[in-house]
Symmetry: C2
Subunit: 477 residues, 2 copies
């Protein structure tokens, strides 16, 4: 599987100098504005060079070795090119063209020819009807349509630690654009399309072994092999988030015409996620907003949350959200409340803790220590207004203290989103954009703790739940 | 009530030149950087002028008439100042100070003294524990803490058409900041605090008569007089949105310590909203994101929605969201599908309609006309990527066509939020920031149609539901 992400040489089949040629944008991306330094060949009717990539009329005309073929031609000629690849000895193919099993009987016949050739020669196929792969660490990408300007922003740095498995090109673009505004960056992205061969379970298995992947996030329109999916996911120690379309029959019908899967019964899928220890998310946006809770914070190991805010309204709002999500408002003992009151700037020391309007840095730090060191508290939900630059500096310290004490905080700053986004990027702290998102982050962190415990057996589960052992993961739906 | 929003002369009691004096920021706001041109007096111990406002030692020392008093002093001296106001003949008072019924028995005793004086002299009181009022049309505001820079952005223009009733200062700030990024602007904002006299029902009654208010949005921590609230809201023809904290007992407890209300049973409140024809929203953000569906689009009069998108994934995602919200995917006849196919750039003409990646302006306009003129469709959910400036120009035309045909579109452009926000401000079109938000906008528009029909009697309801009359508003929860 690693060859897909780290090839030394690639043939882009269908790349020419015709106007609007998608293969040409792939050649350009690989050769001109990524740091990946492998060799690229362009296969087209005229055998012409494309953006500096050597041109050939047929795959078999290429002189050097080819690790990977990327096919982006009309569907009708794809089976012939797959045969050329087989003859050339290529064992990894990404088919980006559409018009196969999602496109009626004619498309299904083409797909069968491809499957037969691949099986016969031991070729692994990604797609068809996909964008292929992107590897932020080495800069390799065969996505078409990514603008040069953005490419550097997406891939220019060292890459992040979240890998994405996405069954839709459109969603890939949304995830890419999210990186411009968040602390989360991708390690690898794979767009798996119709999944004629490589499916989500194969990718999960790969990402579990991949050192640069800490979290996996998936967008799926269907599950191909339910049993394989559950068995693979159950073995994973890394958090797996999934958004699946098709909760209703209308949604499932729409998805079928898109990437040609069998519609799965949604209740069955839901059950499969629970058995597999996979976290189902409620919106596309959660695929990029929630992973930072795993990459930038320790895990939430219990459900008792302490809220503190300088807006009394958010005390009530977050209490509602926490309780509705299955978490709990931590009950603070008289001793803890007295410690908080002694900081001198607290209106209300019971949870939710109401801070005065003008808390000093020193008081913030004292509150963090009191709450994070308390065995009455498993995690924090801080809701401080960004009224002064000192507040963001206090948040930077809070993130350090969370790691020190091994307890997480899901931080929401109730100001206009543009401030949150700017501060988040500038200070590289995991700020959430709404109280709903912050509570969801705490919930999925705790759900992952329960999932890991389930995978380790029930003994592990009870050990993880001081005072909360009577409830099980069933309550975390 | 109008005197609160259009006073000619105001006394700010407690405004002095001490450092961090909140009354001084109110004087400055009124006198220096708003366009409101009334007279302001500053009442303080030394009788000193504050930011150009004439100083007096007592309210009774003021020579001219005073329409409105704004009190922002320690709670203990407020009753004495209320008596001074009564002696001076002032009949409208805003008490911004806190420390009354939300602050224990001592505070409740102070509140009782104020109530007695007010009753005796026929004085209407807003607050205590509030920010008072803001009127965008004339620039009058007694909010403290609003920065001069922002004041112009919030109030500089002519003002908008949404009025807000908000029982929390912190939420006022969030709503104010939302105007920086959206097409919705405030007409009037009122922060009602502990509601010792003027409550949400009084304000609803005023805003129903107020010509510059089209929509009312409320944040409430409690309802003071349930019967009065229901009766007033039922008489309203303008849409009313409400977010109420306290869905859980923990949330209600937190709200009680904030603005001192009785906790209301949430199920009872929910029932009251249904009876009153008030739309309950699910998040603070919906108070500022949803009103544009009323101010910038015609109402949704049926539940049949046509989706069109150039991202196949969003066809499925939006179909799920629409059906889960109680709306329906419109069933397009063969005739309509053929008309759509004849535009020449459609992948899939059944609903959700899958557009090719590079639709022309002309094709966009043809699709809008076909769908909006069809009696199979009540409203649109367009999900076009902003891949080219032409797309936003097509959206500008779509808004015009929606008004022409009298059917709404909730538009979501699946690109990074910063693009949506920029385009929305630049072109003044009502773009939503997520597919969830767009579907919520359609749902609340339809819910308002059902509410109006309920208020007009069931005959009206059936007339509004072509083919959908078997379902009632109970399904729209």
């Amino acid at each position: 599987m690693d060859t897909f992400f780290n090839p030394r040489s690639v043939a882009v089949i269908g790349a020419s100098n015709s106007p609007f040629n998608l293969g040409a944008t792939i050649c350009r991306c690989m050769n001109e504005y990524s740091k990946w330094d492998g060799t690229v060949y362009a296969v087209n009717r005229k055998g012409e060079d494309v953006f500096g990539c050597k041109g050939c009329r047929a795959v078999t005309d290429i002189e050097g070795d080819v690790d990977l073929a990327v096919i982006i031609t009309p569907a009708g000629v794809v089976p012939d090119f797959v045969e050329q690849c087989a003859a050339k000895g290529i064992r990894r193919i990404i088919i980006e063209s559409s018009g196969f099993s999602e496109g009626g009987e004619e498309g299904r016949a083409l797909q069968r020819r491809i499957d037969e050739t691949a099986r016969e020669h031991g070729i692994r196929v990604m797609g068809p009807n996909c964008l292929g792969v992107l590897n932020a660490a080495n800069g390799f990408s065969c996505f078409y349509g990514v603008q040069p300007d953005n490419h550097h922003e997406f891939l220019g740095s060292e890459g992040g630690s979240v890998s994405f498995i996405i069954q839709s090109g459109g969603i890939v673009v949304i995830v890419l654009e999210s990186f411009l505004m968040d602390v989360v960056k991708a390690s690898k992205i794979v767009s798996i399309g119709n999944k004629s061969d490589i499916d989500e379970a194969d990718m999960l298995e790969y990402f579990e072994q991949d050192d640069s992947t800490q979290v996996v996030a998936m967008y799926l329109e269907n599950i191909k092999h339910g049993r394989k999916f559950i068995e693979t996911a159950r073995k994973m120690k890394k958090p797996v988030l999934v958004f699946k379309v098709g909760r209703t029959s209308e949604g499932a019908r729409a998805a079928m015409s898109h990437t040609a899967g069998m519609a799965n019964n949604d209740a069955v899928f839901d059950m499969a996620c629970r058995q597999a220890g996979v976290i189902r998310v409620n919106a596309i946006s959660e695929l990029h907003s929630l992973p930072k809770m795993f990459t930038h914070m320790p895990p939430l190991k219990g459900r008792r949350i302490a809220v503190f805010t300088n807006s009394g309204a958010f005390g009530g709002i977050t209490a509602d959200l926490l309780v509705q999500s299955g978490l709990e408002m931590a009950r603070l003992s008289k001793d803890t409340q007295e410690k908080l009151s002694r900081t001198g700037q607290i209106f209300n020391a019971s949870n939710p803790i109401d801070l005065g309007p003008a808390i000093s840095m020193q008081t913030f730090l004292e509150i963090f220590d009191i709450l994070l060191s308390s065995d009455e508290v498993d995690g924090l939900l801080p809701v401080p207004s960004l009224w002064h630059p000192m507040v963001i500096e206090a948040i930077v310290e809070l993130v350090k203290k969370c790691h020190h004490y091994g307890k997480p905080a899901a931080i929401y700053t109730p100001n206009a989103v543009h401030k949150t986004v700017n501060y988040r990027s500038k200070y590289q702290v995991p700020l959430f954009e709404s109280p709903e998102e912050a509570v969801r982050a705490l919930k999925v962190s705790y759900q992952n703790t329960l999932n890991l415990a389930m995978k380790q057996g029930l003994d592990g589960l009870h050990a993880l739940l001081p005072g909360g052992g009577e409830k099980t993961c069933a309550g975390m739906g």
